[in-house]
Symmetry: C2
Subunit: 685 residues, 2 copies
């Protein structure tokens, strides 16, 4: 056996990538492991690759190994046998010490140790959860080389920084199909996330079958809900992959859909319809009636028994109190009980609900608003308000989850999520005992999300959040993150996610044809202008966006973040930093600008032929103008001339036009083209 | 109501596309309907679109309507309600007269009539089979316009030309997963094909669970087989979509996998292993022993009961007779019974098997070889040998299916399949009573096919065969076929087929990275050099291709037919036909050639970094040389110079190099570049 030469890689150094003499290329691991040593050997991955299970055995481990072997086959195209091998004869041996808990618990050990040398590999963990994570790491180690597929020799000791690494999906505002949820669980598994939080009810729909209270779905869901059988299957699917399922039923507000079948639960008079609009609405449960708590006891009792997880999310956000203010009986109750305002009334409600949740042996989770004096210390606060709010809760001894800054529907770039750390505000001020921050959750609110485009809004960006929650805090290199995010995106596509395929099909649908390469060029430089723009524009357009509005426009198809713009920006920055001497960068910039300038002419006939594409006609014109402006700027720079002021201000107008939202889109390359324009107007020496 | 102005379109005219004043664009129907009248109105397709079921009702029709509505949602992105509507209130009303048969029969009426006007639509058929087809036609009518999605007003009277429009999939040589089979059924449905013929056993594997004879799969399948439960599910899935499932168990040859568990069934001594190599092998069933027929009676009895279809395929092809010749008992038997050669012995066997098949109430189907004197007239001959063989059988009164010319693994272009007509040789010679040709089957033999790339080998090319079998014989316009095949390809992608997604992922895997645009450029001009080349090269390379060889090379990923090459060829032909005056064509040609010339330099580092890509390095160099040669030819042409002979012959060598198979690939654009080179060498006036 060859002697291994180990190179220690400090993963908590600024750049986590390996670029030492031991290796010519970098690793595509995401999230980055806590500690990794890299050797010089390579383990060949061939069709004979096999896995054995030593130590503790259970069906979940066999499933994991079979899934892993299918993953190896996918990553290599080799006809690997999908079968657990004999101990002592396998390429990779896994070894768990003991079972994990019957119901996956937040406090379980998720760590693993992975050793790969030139001839075989070993993966050990305290329990199957670590094995599941380690197998994902191994898959990401497989790479192609001039001689074959290999996994480089490594010694990895890995464990998550936070125990709660979640993805919340709002299945109420738009219903999301079970298959899509499963694909998202697959994505979470690849990114080592471990909590799928389902926002199962809101004004716009009640999505979970209750047998005790059947009208919740028969009248509150438009027929779009999960049967108990389907949900049981999803829970088992997630459990098999080390993912907990935490249900949320939002109360006392965000609850119109409950009242369609059970109007007596509300604080207002009359009957209710499923809400179709977006926003905060008046209907709220009546906190003053005994019947409300009897109803909730029945419902929570059924759901607490159905969902195995120890945590139960009751929402609790955004109650506007109007129904309470207008109800004389409620006002009377408040006076009688010395409840001085709506916040206090909600606090009263939440305390009652907490008792019910506790009675059914669950720990309550809720949004910021539920944190009021008198709450038991074991509840968990999920913060949508911000890190300060989270730190405050922790200082009061409450455990918390960060979601502020992790809203995927905000369409912000991965780098921005990546920069948000659950501990960044808390760190300095909290004593170790007070460090009660459990982790965080990426949130996919679904006003403008359909079953078709949800994956493209979650992935791959959620993996940047997953890394923030798993890897050491000091891992912060944005370039490395984006490089690995690209590899992750491919991996997700390989395992069947549709974050890239569906948007392509949406483009083809808008075009009514398969060959729409100028349309793709436009789509790749456009980004959604952001949630608030869309909300405003929808209102000002007279028509109002509702849950029944088609989500088949360009803004629904373009990626939240333009990879082309990022690459272009990097080239421009490099070109300017080189004092305009980097010829390769300039050639690339010129090529892009020329393509953009000429794209509009090719694209216009298509845009005019489709009712869905007409609205992006000005965006295409803006891009064309930007291309022309950028090329003129390059010409000034090449000739070492200073662009005249009049020209400069004219071009800035073109940039402004491209940045301003049109069709809810913005031209993502505009600010970078401005850099070129500005650079060309700086007096030359 | 507006008066409709109908324009009669004769679909049996040479060009089936509609380009009259009634319409500015063409229809994307495939297969083309038998008769179609086109109106001037348009039926708007909005979110309110709905379908009602008048007339005969059954669950299959509700399923079909729900699937159809999901199809409308996919094609438009509109939030259409997936729910059967009330009669009289729906946009589209369907009306079947009566039930189809309990087990779908070849002779059932598949016709339908579809009427679309500006306000609603009606689809009528004798039974649900016609409704299923008509719904597919309606989906293909939906198109995007400047004002919204519409279906143009049409009156369609449609019925298939042949009753048997099949796809054979060889699941023995490489196992194909159930999900993949279902996706192929989806594709068949879109193309109005109605028979899925599964080649369930061969030397390389026995894929269908038998409970009476369990060792067939426990020892003969490497664990890769369909359980009865899975197969029952597939049959129901296909039935729901108007597709019959015809099982084939190949005998007496092609049967090594049977003998692993049941060696006594063979004509040779000793034990057997599953065959890993490709070709024709010696093992064959022993036609002389009573036990053989007892075994087959048991097996066929079980399978005949399990598979509901009336037809039962017994293979019967390619018996080399060696085991028979070497077995003294068999030789003795032949002498005793006056059986003079191996063909006669197989005939004896087939007659016995036919009796068993008949006894179990099935009609026997087999390959050409089963046709021997004495066979009952109801058997069906599937011809792999050719149209003559088929015509011959028909003249003897036997019903036949054409498969010769429809082999998808031969990687021939769609236009070639399209030109093959089951009746082309038979037509002239047969009296109407003798026209016993039932249709045909596209055949997907799987020596070099994996679960990963099978869809890219079947689709969209099989749709050209489907059109040949459905549409009037006179529909033969190749350009129209290719245009509609492109739309079909997009439609298939939309409904979930992976014929385009998987090859993209295979490219990324070879490259080890997601961003490999020069690799895509190369892949798009390369075509598999053909089956015989691959077989020969595999042998001469010393290593032998087996069922365990990885199918992850470039040849496994590139499309069977290069769309880029087709487009380029058309441009070059147009340029030459214009006497070199068509400037748009020339600009396009120059752009392509420049890209190809420069591609190799960008691509080489990647090719060298991957063991799977190294072999295509010469292909990339060939393409580069072709690009350069083509550009020089254009320069001669532009300058109205005659290219010198020495240059001309030098360039032809480059063309030869590109055409000659390398890495089992050929550069598909090479012959067209040669046209340019030749044109530049023609003396100018």
């Amino acid at each position: 056996m060859r002697t291994l030469f180990w190179v220690l890689i400090l993963c908590f150094a600024m750049n986590p990538d390996v670029s030492a003499q031991s290796s010519s290329t970098q690793f595509n691991l995401m999230p980055m492991p806590a500690r990794m040593n890299v050797g010089t050997d390579q383990l060949p991955i061939t069709e004979g690759f096999s896995v054995a299970i030593g130590g503790y055995k259970e069906p979940r481990l066999s499933h994991a190994v079979e899934r892993f072997l299918r993953g190896v086959a996918l990553r290599t195209g080799l006809p690997v046998r999908i079968q657990v091998a004999e101990v002592g004869k396998a390429t990779l041996e896994i070894h768990a010490e003991r079972a994990s808990k019957h119901v996956q618990d937040m406090n379980e050990d998720e760590s693993y140790v992975l050793d790969v040398n030139g001839t075989n590999a070993k993966l050990s963990a305290e329990n199957p959860l670590g094995i599941l994570h380690g197998l994902q790491t191994f898959l990401q180690l497989i790479e192609i080389t001039p001689t074959g597929f290999v996994a480089r020799a490594v010694h990895i000791e890995d464990a998550p920084r936070f125990p709660w690494r979640g993805l919340m999906i709002d299945v109420s505002r738009h219903f999301i199909a079970m298959d899509t949820l499963k694909r998202n669980v697959d994505g979470m598994t690849a990114a080592k996330m471990n909590v799928l939080h389902l926002h199962l009810s809101d004004n716009q729909g009640f999505r979970m079958e209750s047998r005790a209270l059947p009208k919740l779905v028969t009248t509150g869901s438009d027929g779009m809900y999960y049967t108990q059988e389907e949900m049981r299957d999803l829970i088992a699917y997630a459990r098999d992959r080390g993912v907990r399922v935490v249900p949320e039923f939002d109360m006392p507000g965000h609850s119109t859909s409950w009242f369609v079948g059970y109007p007596g639960l509300s604080s207002g008079p009359g009957s209710y319809q499923i809400e179709r609009r977006w926003g905060i609405f008046d209907p709220a449960m009546d906190p003053t009636r005994e019947e409300t708590y009897k109803f909730l006891d029945k419902f929570i009792g059924e759901m607490a028994e159905f969902f195995p997880d120890s945590y139960f999310h009751i929402g609790g956000d955004e109650v506007n109190g109007k129904q309470w203010d207008q109800n004389p009986k409620i006002q009377q109750f408040m006076r009688t009980h010395n409840i001085k305002n709506d916040e206090a009334l909600q606090q009263y409600f939440t305390l009652q609900v907490e008792k019910i949740v506790s009675k059914h042996h669950k720990i309550m989770v809720g949004w910021d608003e539920i944190l009021e004096p008198g709450m038991p210390q074991d509840i968990v606060i999920q913060s949508w308000r911000g890190q300060d709010s989270l730190a405050q809760a922790a200082q009061q001894g409450y455990r918390g989850l960060l979601s502020s800054g992790y809203y995927l529907d905000a369409m912000t770039p991965a780098s921005q999520y990546y920069a948000v750390d659950p501990m960044s505000n808390a760190d300095a001020r909290l004593t170790p005992e007070q460090k009660k921050i459990l982790g965080g959750e990426a949130c996919m609110w679904s006003e403008f999300i359909s079953d078709e485009n949800i994956e493209s809004r979650i992935w791959p960006r959620a993996a940047a959040i997953a890394e923030r929650l798993w890897s050491p805090q000091q891992i912060q290199d944005v370039d490395s993150m984006y490089r690995r995010l690209g590899a992750m995106s491919l991996e997700l596509e390989q395992i069947g996610l549709r974050h890239r395929a569906n948007p392509e099909l949406m483009l083809a649908r808008m075009a009514g044809t398969e060959s729409a390469s100028p349309l793709r060029t436009l789509a790749r430089i456009a980004e959604p202008a952001g949630l608030s723009v869309r909300e405003k524009e929808a209102e000002s357009a007279g028509g109002i966006q509702t849950s029944e509005t088609a989500l088949n426009r360009m803004v629904d198809a373009v990626a939240p973040e333009s990879a082309v713009a990022r690459q272009f920006t990097r080239a421009v920055e490099q070109f300017i930093a080189s004092n305009f001497k980097d010829a390769d960068a300039e050639a690339y910039i010129r090529e892009q600008l020329t393509m953009w300038r000429d794209n509009n002419e090719r694209l216009q006939p298509l845009l005019q032929s489709s009712y869905l594409l007409k609205e992006v006609s000005p965006v295409s014109q803006d891009l064309s103008a930007l291309g022309a402006a950028g090329l003129q700027a390059l010409d000034y720079i090449d000739k070492a001339q200073t662009a005249p002021d009049s020209w400069h201000s004219q071009q800035l107008a073109a940039v402004q036009a491209a940045v301003a939202p049109t069709a809810d889109l913005t031209v993502a390359v505009a600010p970078t083209v401005q850099k070129l324009i500005d650079a060309s107007a700086v007096p030359k020496r």
